[in-house]
C-alpha cells in the first residue's frame, strides 16, 4: 500500500510530502524523505514489553504493573522531574503538564539543551519571524548562522529556502544570495556565496558590530572583529540592507556557544534594526520534530515554554533554576519520568548520572542511553509512525502526524493518562 503526503516526525522541518510503502503492517519503502527520515521509519526496533531493573538485569513486566509502579514513584517524590516531550505529539505533552500540576513536579522539555537560550532571548526582545513559505516565496538573501542544515535539517534548503522555487523568486538559487557564518567551513558553508568565518565565541561581537554599522556607527568598529574583517562586515551589512526580503536561520552553533542567549538576542536586535531598512526575519532551526509543539503546549497551559516548576502549586519559571539539567546537576530531584527523549545521551555527564541514583522511568518507543540509567522502561507508539497527533513545525505551523501502521503498542498519551488517573484517585484530568 502506498501512503502519500506523510509527515516525517524526525526534525523541526516536518516535511509533509513523504511517500511510504507499507506491506503487511510494515514500512518497506520511504520516498521523498532525507536519509534521516529513512532511518526514522525503517530502523524502528522496540522492546516487546515494559521492563524493570532487577538485582542482576531486567525483567519483563505488564503494562499495568509498570504504570502502577510509575504512579507510586511519582506520588512518593518530593521533587519529581518530568522531562522530554519533544518527540511525541501534543496530546501526550498536554497530559504530561496535567500530571505535573497535579503532583507538584518540575516539567521541562528538550529546549533546555537546544533552543532554550533562543526562548530567553525572545522573552527579552521578541521575535520577528514568519512561516517558512514567506521565505520560500520571497527571500533573496538567506543567512545560516551557526547552523549546518545539510547535516541536521537536510531538506530545509530544498523545501523552504535556498533551492526552493518561490513565487517571487522563480529562479530559486540563482536569485538568492546565501551567506553562511560559522566557526568552521561546514558542508553548508561550501554552497554559500559569502562565507564568514568567525573565531569561536565571537558571534556576539560580530552581531554588535553589524548592528553598529547598520545604524551608521561604522567608524567605531575596529579593523577586525572576532577574526572578521571590517570590510567583510560592511559588505554583509550592505547585502542585508539591499535585500528585498532577508532571512536569518540559526542553530546550536549560536545558542550553545559562549554567551548563549545574548548571542540570540543580539541576532534578533540586528534583525530588528534591518527592518528599519527592508524586510528581515529570523528563525531558530528547531531540532526535534515536535520540540516547538512542547513549547506551544506548555505555554498555553502554564504560561511558559519550558522549565516549569509546580512545586508550590502555581507555575514558576526560571531557566537556570527550574531547568532539568540544573535540577539534576544540583541533585535536587528524587524521581524522574523521561518521555520521548534521551537525556542519558544529551545531558552533561554529571546531570545524567543523577538519573541513575533516583527512580527513573522512561516512556519511549526506543531503547536509548537513558534506558541504561532507568529503573523501568515502558515502550509505546512512535508519534508519526504508529500514532497520530499534533506537531508544530519550527515556524509554528501545526501539522497532524499520521498513523501509518499499527504495531500494537499503546499510545504514550494513553499510558500517561492511566498514570494521571492513578495519581488523581481514579479521576480524569
Amino acid at each position: 500500500m502506498i501512503e502519500r503526503d506523510v509527515v516525517c516526525p524526525f526534525c523541526g522541518c516536518l516535511c509533509d510530502d513523504l511517500e511510504l510503502e507499507t506491506e503487511g503492517g510494515k514500512i518497506v519503502k520511504v520516498q521523498n524523505g532525507c536519509s534521516l527520515a529513512e532511518s526514522t521509519f525503517m530502523n524502528d526496533t522496540r522492546l516487546p514489553a515494559p521492563i524493570r531493573r532487577t538485582e542482576t538485569g531486567w525483567e519483563d513486566i505488564s503494562y499495568n504493573e509498570a504504570i502502577k509502579e510509575t504512579a507510586e514513584i511519582l506520588r512518593d517524590a518530593d521533587r519529581p522531574l518530568l522531562y522530554g516531550w519533544s518527540s511525541t505529539h501534543g496530546e501526550a505533552q498536554s497530559i504530561g503538564v496535567h500530571i505535573a500540576e497535579l503532583i507538584g513536579a518540575v516539567i521541562d522539555n528538550t529546549s533546555t539543551v537546544c533552543h532554550g537560550p533562543s526562548i530567553l532571548a525572545i522573552q527579552e526582545v521578541g521575535h520577528p519571524g514568519c512561516t517558512l513559505g514567506q521565505v520560500k516565496n520571497r527571500a533573496d538573501v538567506i543567512i545560516y548562522w551557526g547552523a549546518n542544515p545539510v547535516e541536521a535539517h537536510p531538506r530545509h534548503m530544498s523545501r523552504y529556502t535556498t533551492y526552493a522555487t518561490g513565487f517571487f523568486v522563480p529562479e530559486a538559487r540563482r536569485e538568492r544570495t546565501v551567506i553562511v557564518v560559522d566557526t568552521r567551513r561546514t558542508d553548508t558553508a561550501n554552497i554559500a556565496d559569502e562565507f564568514v568565518q568567525i573565531e569561536r565565541g565571537g558571534d556576539y561581537a560580530v552581531f554588535s558590530a553589524l548592528r553598529a554599522i547598520v545604524r551608521g556607527n561604522a567608524s567605531v568598529i575596529p579593523r577586525k572583529v572576532a577574526g572578521v574583517s571590517k570590510e567583510q562586515l560592511i559588505r554583509i551589512a550592505e547585502i542585508c540592507k539591499k535585500a528585498k526580503f532577508g532571512a536569518i536561520f540559526f542553530g546550536l552553533g549560536l545558542t550553545m556557544s559562549r554567551g548563549k542567549y545574548k548571542n540570540i538576542r543580539n541576532a534578533i536586535e540586528l534583525t530588528d534594526e534591518l527592518n528599519r531598512h527592508t524586510k528581515f526575519v529570523i528563525s531558530p532551526l528547531r531540532g526535534h520534530g515536535n520540540v516547538y509543539g512542547s513549547n506551544e503546549v506548555f505555554t498555553w497551559m502554564t504560561g511558559y515554554p519550558f522549565a516549569v516548576d509546580f512545586a508550590r502549586g502555581i507555575a514558576f519559571y526560571n531557566p537556570g533554576e527550574t531547568t532539568a539539567v540544573d535540577i539534576l546537576r544540583r541533585g535536587e530531584c528524587d524521581a524522574a519520568l523521561i518521555v520521548a527523549s534521551d537525556p542519558g545521551a544529551n545531558f552533561p555527564r554529571a546531570a545524567a548520572a543523577h538519573l541513575a541514583k533516583i527512580p527513573t522511568v522512561v516512556i519511549d518507543p526506543h531503547v536509548n542511553a537513558t534506558t541504561a540509567l532507568s529503573r523501568i522502561h515502558i515502550p509505546c507508539t512512535a508519534a508519526g509512525i504508529d500514532a497520530a497527533g499534533t506537531a508544530y513545525r519550527m515556524d509554528g505551523v501545526p501539522i497532524r502526524l499520521k498513523k501509518v501502521i499499527d504495531r500494537g503498542y499503546p499510545d504514550d498519551a494513553e499510558i500517561l493518562k492511566k498514570i494521571y488517573d492513578l495519581l488523581n484517585g481514579g479521576m480524569g484530568p
Binding site: 513559505g133 505555554t299 498555553w300 507555575a315
Partner: protein, 566 residues
C-alpha cells in the same frame, strides 16, 4: 435528563423585549423550556440581575499569535497566578493569561461565548487546540483573508463567485466561522516591509486595492449566506488622521442583509483619530458616529482602552512595527505565507500621555454618541485595549457620568479640548448594557437562531446571574457596586449547568466550537479547480491534503451549513 429551575430572576433579555421583569426560567438538558418537573434543581436568583450569557464578539484568546504573546512574556505570567483547586487548573498571566485563565475569568464574569478575532487558516489547528483548552465558553474563529492570494486574484478578476468559492473552501478547511479582514492588502505589502496608506492604494504585485477587497468580500459574504457579516479591521489603524480612511470605508458599505449588519467594524476607537501627527491628534468620534447613526448596516465595537500595562497583538503586522518604533520594547512579528501577517508588542497606556488619554476618551465617545446600542458593542479588543477583566469598569463608565468625571479629572490636561467626552451627559441603562454585551453580539454574529444571546424557549441555557439588584442600585452614583457586580456572577450557567459560582469554577467545561460550511455549487468548488490546486502545491509549504483541520480537533464541533448562491 437534567433539569434546573431558576426562580425570581430579574431578567433583561433585549432580543425578546424583556426589560427587568421578575420571572422564572426552566431548563432541561441544556436548553430553555416552558416548564420543568418538580424534581428540578432550584436556584433562587433573589431578584438579581439575570442576563443571557455574555458574548464577546471580538477577543484574542487562542491561537498562534496569542500564544506567542504568552511565550514572550514571563514577566506577565507572574501576575494572576493561581493554584490548582478543585476543578480548576493552574492559571498564570494577567494580560495574556493561559487558556484556563481566560476561560475561568470570562466565566466568572458571566461570559459563555467567545469569538476569537483572528485565525490564520494555515495555523487554524493551533486555534482549535486552544479552544479545547478554553473549556467554559463556546468558541468561534474569525478567519483571516486580508492577504489571501487566491482571494486577491479573484478580486482582481472581479469574480465575486470565485471569491466566494475561495472563502467557502478556506472556511471549511480552517473550521472557521466568518470573514476577517485585517488591514486588507496591507498585510501582503508587509511581506515586503511596506504598508498601504489608504483604501485606494494598490497592493504590490496584486493590482487590487483594499476598497476592492472589502467590497468584493462583502458581496461574497452575502452570496455565501454566512451568519456573520464581513468583520473588518480598517486600514491605517492607530495613525493620526485615520478617521478619513474609516469614513471612506464605511461609505463603501451597501445594505444587503435584513437580519443583521452588512459590515462589522472592529475596535473603531483605534480608527477614529483626527490630526496629522502625535502632537495634534484629536478625536473624530463625532464624525464617525454621525455616519454610523445614519447607516444601520454598520455595527462597530468600541475597542476601548483602559490605563495600565497590556499587550497589543494583531494580524496587522506593519502597524505593530510602527508602534514598536515608538515604544522600543520587545517586538514579535509572524507573517503567514499566502494569507496574512501578525505582530505583537507590549504597551502601557498611561494617564500621563495625552495620546493615551484621547484614545481612552474616544472609545467612550463612540459608545455614548452611537444612538442605537445595537450598533456599538462593548469590547476592548482584548488584550489590545485592555484585558477583558476590565469590562466591568467600562460598563461603569458608560453608566455613570460621575465616574467619567472623576476619571477625567486625573487625565492629562490637554485631553478636554481634543475630545467631546467631557460634555457628554448620556448615562446608559441596564438594558443598553445587556445589548452591548450579549444581545447585540448575538445578533451581529448571527447566532440568535443558534439559541444564543436570549432566554427564549429553545435557547441554549447560557445564563449569567449577577449580584446586582437593579431596583436598589443607582448606577450613576453607585458605580462601584456596578463594577463589582459585573466582575463576579453569583451563578454562571452554561448549557444548563452551573459552571461558576461567586467566581469559582465548579465543573469541568465542555464547550462547543461553531463553524460554517457554506455549500457552493460543485462546478466552482476550489477542490475541483486545477489552477488553485497547482498554485497551492507550488507556493504553500504544506500539502493541500494536510491543510484542512481534521474533525478530531473539534470534539464538539457545531457546523452551521448554508446553501450558498441560492
Amino acid at each position: 435528563m437534567t433539569e434546573l429551575w431558576v426562580k425570581n430572576a430579574c431578567v433583561i433579555d433585549p432580543i425578546r423585549g424583556i426589560n427587568g421583569d421578575i420571572m422564572d426560567i426552566a431548563i432541561r438538558d441544556g436548553r430553555i423550556v416552558e416548564s420543568v418537573s418538580d424534581r428540578a434543581e432550584v436556584i433562587d436568583a433573589e431578584r438579581c440581575l439575570t442576563l443571557p450569557g455574555g458574548i464577546d464578539s471580538h477577543t484574542h484568546v487562542s491561537g498562534t499569535k496569542v500564544n506567542f504573546g504568552r511565550y514572550m512574556s514571563p514577566e506577565d505570567m507572574r501576575a494572576g497566578r493561581t493554584k490548582r483547586k478543585g476543578k480548576m487548573h493552574v492559571t498564570s498571566g494577567y494580560y495574556v493569561p493561559t487558556t484556563f485563565g481566560n476561560s475561568y475569568r470570562y466565566s466568572a464574569m458571566g461570559y459563555t461565548t467567545l469569538l476569537e478575532g483572528a485565525m490564520a487558516p494555515l495555523e487554524a489547528r493551533h486555534t482549535h487546540e486552544e479552544f479545547t483548552a478554553t473549556p467554559h465558553q463556546d468558541m468561534m474563529a474569525n478567519t483571516l483573508f486580508d492577504g489571501n492570494w487566491a482571494v486577491m486574484d479573484a478580486v482582481r478578476e472581479k469574480d465575486i463567485r470565485k471569491t466566494a468559492a475561495v472563502v467557502a473552501w478556506t472556511l471549511k478547511a480552517a473550521r472557521g466561522y466568518g470573514i476577517k479582514l485585517t488591514n486588507p492588502g496591507g498585510t501582503e505589502a508587509w511581506g515586503w516591509g511596506e504598508d498601504l496608506t489608504g483604501i485606494h492604494d494598490t497592493v504590490p504585485h496584486f493590482a487590487v486595492t483594499p476598497a476592492e477587497i472589502i467590497t468584493t468580500m462583502i458581496r461574497a459574504n452575502e452570496l455565501l449566506k454566512l451568519p456573520h457579516s464581513v468583520h473588518l479591521h480598517c486600514n491605517n489603524l492607530g495613525k493620526p488622521g485615520n478617521y478619513q480612511t474609516t469614513l471612506e470605508t464605511f461609505e463603501l458599505v451597501p445594505d444587503l442583509n435584513d437580519a443583521r449588519q452588512t459590515l462589522y467594524a472592529t475596535h473603531v476607537q483605534f480608527h477614529a483619530y483626527g490630526g496629522g501627527t502625535w502632537k495634534n491628534i484629536c478625536s473624530k468620534a463625532e464624525e464617525i458616529t454621525r455616519l454610523v447613526n445614519s447607516k444601520p448596516q454598520i455595527v462597530m465595537d468600541m475597542g476601548q482602552i483602559m490605563f495600565g500595562r497590556t499587550m497589543t497583538m494583531t494580524a496587522d503586522g506593519p502597524m505593530e512595527f510602527n508602534l514598536h518604533c515608538l515604544h522600543n520594547n520587545k517586538w514579535s512579528n509572524h507573517d503567514v505565507e499566502l494569507e496574512t501577517g501578525s505582530g505583537i508588542i507590549p504597551v502601557t497606556y498611561s494617564k500621563k500621555s495625552t495620546v493615551n488619554c484621547i484614545m481612552w476618551a474616544i472609545g467612550l465617545e463612540l459608545a455614548l454618541l452611537t444612538k442605537n446600542p445595537w450598533q456599538c458593542l462593548l469590547e476592548t479588543d482584548n488584550p489590545n485595549g485592555a484585558p477583558f477583566v476590565k469590562y466591568p469598569e467600562v460598563i461603569g463608565l458608560l453608566m455613570s457620568k460621575r465616574y467619567r468625571d472623576e476619571e477625567c479629572a486625573a487625565l492629562h490636561a490637554g485631553t478636554e479640548q481634543k475630545t467631546s467626552l467631557y460634555a457628554l451627559e448620556r448615562e446608559m441603562d441596564w438594558h443598553d448594557i445587556a445589548v452591548m454585551t450579549r444581545a447585540g453580539q448575538a445578533k451581529a454574529l448571527g447566532i440568535v437562531s443558534q439559541g444564543k444571546g436570549h432566554l427564549g424557549v429553545g435557547a441554549e441555557a447560557d445564563i449569567a446571574i449577577y449580584p446586582i439588584r437593579t431596583d436598589s442600585v443607582d448606577p450613576a452614583r453607585e458605580y462601584r457596586k456596578v463594577v463589582e457586580g459585573f466582575q463576579k456572577t453569583r451563578y454562571t450557567i452554561k448549557r444548563g449547568r452551573v459552571v461558576s459560582r461567586d467566581g469559582e469554577i465548579i465543573v469541568d467545561g465542555a464547550n462547543a466550537t461553531f463553524w460554517v460550511d457554506a455549500k457552493v455549487p460543485e462546478d466552482i468548488r476550489m477542490e475541483n479547480d486545477p489552477e488553485f490546486i497547482k498554485r497551492f502545491e507550488q507556493f504553500y509549504t504544506v500539502r493541500m491534503s494536510n491543510y484542512p483541520v481534521q474533525d478530531v480537533y473539534l470534539p464538539r464541533g457545531r457546523c452551521i451549513e448554508t446553501e450558498a448562491f441560492t
